[in-house]
């Protein structure tokens, strides 16, 4: 149970800056995800919070107290590593009880044979066993306690790593891409399990991933990191629906958001390759980029509709529940992906040109250097 506060954290590797001034408040009991492409500094930030790496400048505070001078083992945080980092020579049970023994028993009490004669050692050991037993029960590890990590599957190892982190009841969990070594189906399953675990434990979780789907499904809040900076911090919903930066919009969402370049006339009307969009902006610039998510396109029936754009279909992707149509607008080079329901797509063949339009209010406008431009008004066009 802890709130963690980061104040202008900077990390330099020689001349290169890995983190440039991170400010972040993580609330008690929150599930916060740090997400970003590889090399964005998210793991470094997590390791700075853990104390495994030292920041060049800035403060890490846990529960209002600076922990800059406190080493990792004394911060009372637990970490789950991408490789799980289980002790290969110890059984599952020994792996789980190790953090408890190291924390609660003195080095004399941990000694083989001699330890048993230290007064009170037996009771301590007994209580440790109860704690570890409870954790094993929560994670359904009872059947595996006598196996070694080498004899476990990826998912089981993952659970043991979680167990080893949980037994101590730490103030916060730090997770460094814990699901990236699992196969796709198991990853989806563990996503749900982790979210449920967080609900039950009510402890602070800081979760690092490069997978935007994991971030969207599990987190209370997401911090999008790119090039050593947090570009946007918000709930999954905010991040998805209202990205404040083109890079955020492009990173979150699968398939990726479609970016089209648009022209602006004197009165602020945005058009794409001569097609009106009905979007007006106040800013006086010539060029903008329009971001439209695949699901925000609609197929338009018939040729009569004048407010739609011709879309040349080059590829149909069948996902069962949905279809993704790949193609381009007006013969431009930019590849566009639109989503459509299976029954709409049935009659469309590859090579055909259909009409699409963007749903009202959905397109997002970005400036040349990635900033978001607020849309002033949208004419009564394309009412869906």
């Amino acid at each position: 149970m802890a709130d963690i506060r980061l104040r202008s954290i900077e990390k330099m590797y020689g001349e290169t800056a890995a983190l440039c001034g991170i400010d972040l408040d993580i609330r008690d009991g929150e599930f916060l995800t740090l997400v970003g492409p590889s090399g964005c500094g998210k793991s470094t930030l997590l390791r700075i919070i853990a104390g495994l790496e030292e920041q060049t400048r800035g403060e890490v505070e846990i529960d209002g107290k600076s922990v800059n001078k406190i080493r990792a083992s004394k911060r009372d945080l637990a970490m789950v590593f991408q490789s799980y980092a289980l002790y290969p020579h110890l059984t599952v049970w020994q792996n789980m009880i190790t953090p408890l023994r190291l924390r609660d028993l003195s080095s004399l009490e941990r000694m083989p044979f001699i330890g048993r004669f230290v007064p009170g050692q037996r009771d301590k050991v007994k209580s440790l066993h109860t704690l570890a037993g409870e954790t094993a029960h929560t994670l359904k590890l009872e059947q595996l306690l006598h196996r070694k990590p080498g004899q476990l599957s990826g998912g089981q190892r993952q659970r043991v790593a979680l167990g080893r982190a949980m037994v101590r009841k730490p103030r916060a969990f730090l997770m460094d891409e814990p699901l990236s070594n699992l196969d796709a189906a198991l990853r989806v399953h563990m996503r749900a399990e982790l979210a449920e675990l967080h609900r039950n434990l009510k402890t602070t979780f800081i979760y690092v991933t490069h997978d935007q789907a994991e971030a969207l499904t599990m987190s209370d809040r997401i911090a999008i990191m790119i090039d050593g900076e947090i570009i946007q911090l918000g709930t999954p919903d905010e991040i998805y629906k209202n990205p404040r930066d083109r890079r955020v919009a492009e990173f979150v969402g699968s398939p990726k958001i479609n970016i089209l370049s648009g022209d602006v006339d004197e009165s602020g009307n945005v058009s794409i390759m001569g097609n009106h969009t009905g979007i007006r902006i106040r800013k006086r610039i010539k060029k903008v980029h329009l971001g439209i998510r695949p699901e925000h396109f609609r197929l338009v029936n018939g040729n009569g509709a004048t407010d739609s754009w011709p879309f040349h279909v080059t590829y149909k992707e069948n996902l069962g529940s949905d279809f993704y149509l790949h193609g381009h607008l007006n013969g431009s080079k930019n590849r566009i992906i639109t989503r459509a329901a299976p029954d709409e797509v049935g009659r469309i063949t590859i090579g055909e040109t259909v009409k699409v339009r963007a749903r009202q209010g959905k397109p997002m406008v970005f400036c040349d250097n990635d900033c978001r431009i607020d849309v002033m008004q949208e004419a009564g066009y394309g009412s869906a």
Partner: protein, 319 residues
């Protein structure tokens, strides 16, 4: 057709198999055969003597001394060179710079010819002109004697200490006194071989994933000793098994120092197996007896290798 293919297979593998038989297995087989005879080099024939050579080996005091000497050497040099090698590897591994310089320095004795080094040691440890005894003698009556005889501690009689006794009665004959010779030979053995173990341990250390140390840190392993027990030592298990086997075999094979310095003496206290083989088979031309020692020697080495292979290795590979 199948039979023909089979035959061609044998033809293709024949060179390798023949070479293996001729070069590797035949000498062992011949030695084993000769060990049941009284053959001498140059003789046109020999007599079968059955197990006589072996019976001699286990009854005559010379051979009992031989086995004692070899086993003593192994039991001192193997742990000594492993502990030093591991210690040096851990220290060098923790360095950020100059690691390569230390590696080179510690590896020097391994690269140098042991025979040449043995001669250097012989001079260094010479009872009258050697630098060791001269240095020790120069400390007599001075601060070193007072300090090392521990007479300044309460309840310790300084005059009966090793240093003071030597000051009165002369410093040891490192290679002439039965009480010291084995220890001195072992010392040279350790000095020569720990650099090799260090290199093996360094390789082992670099292959330990860093995340395990970080996990140990997060789990609360604050002290270096805890981390060593939890991560380093278990992860070095396979290396240790290899190092123990290699060091033991190499220690059984010690010959250069013994031949160059002591020639098995004094009173056969350093009469190790390799030297015995050389002395019996080459110097005394008792090839039969020499072969019997070779067979016993091979048995020791094989036993070790199989122990490593089947008993220990399974416990240190964790996957």
């Amino acid at each position: 057709m199948a039979a023909r293919k089979n035959f061609m297979g044998y033809v293709f593998t024949a060179p390798a198999i023949i070479l293996m038989l001729v070069i590797l297995l035949a000498p062992v087989f011949i030695a084993a055969t000769l060990s049941f005879t009284d053959y001498s080099l140059g003789n046109s024939s020999f007599n079968w003597v059955g197990l006589e050579n072996y019976l001699k080996m286990f009854s005559r005091s010379t051979y009992v001394k031989m086995i004692t000497a070899s086993v003593t050497y192994v039991f001192i040099v193997v742990p000594g060179s492993i502990v030093l090698g591991l210690g040096a590897a851990l220290l060098i591994h923790s360095l950020r710079r100059f690691g390569d310089i230390y590696k080179t320095i510690y590896f020097l004795p391994v690269m140098a010819s042991l025979l040449a080094m043995a001669i250097v040691w012989e001079f260094t440890l010479h009872p009258t002109i050697g630098i060791i005894n001269k240095t020790l003698a120069s400390g007599c009556g001075n601060f070193p004697e007072i300090f090392f005889s521990l007479g300044w501690l309460p309840f310790v009689d300084g005059s009966s200490s090793w240093y003071s006794t030597c000051c009165r009665e002369g410093f040891p004959l490192w290679f002439g006194d039965k009480a010291y010779t084995m220890a001195t030979i072992c010392f040279i053995g350790i000095w020569q071989s720990f650099g090799f173990n260090m290199v093996l341990y360094l390789a082992g250390l670099t292959s330990i994933p860093r995340e395990l140390y970080q996990a140990a840190e997060m789990d609360g392993a604050v002290k270096g000793w805890d981390r060593f027990k939890l991560v380093t030592w278990p992860m070095l298990g396979p290396t240790t098994v290899f190092v123990v086997t290699i060091s033991t075999i190499r220690s059984f094979q010690v010959f250069d120092t013994v031949e160059a310095i002591t020639r098995g003496g004094p009173v056969k206290s350093t009469y190790v197996m390799m030297y015995a083989i050389y002395e019996k088979a080459i110097k005394h031309n008792m090839v039969g007896m020499g072969s019997a020692i070779v067979v016993v020697f091979l048995a020791f080495v094989l036993l070790l290798t199989f122990t490593q292979r089947y008993l220990v290795e399974r416990r240190v590979h964790y996957s």
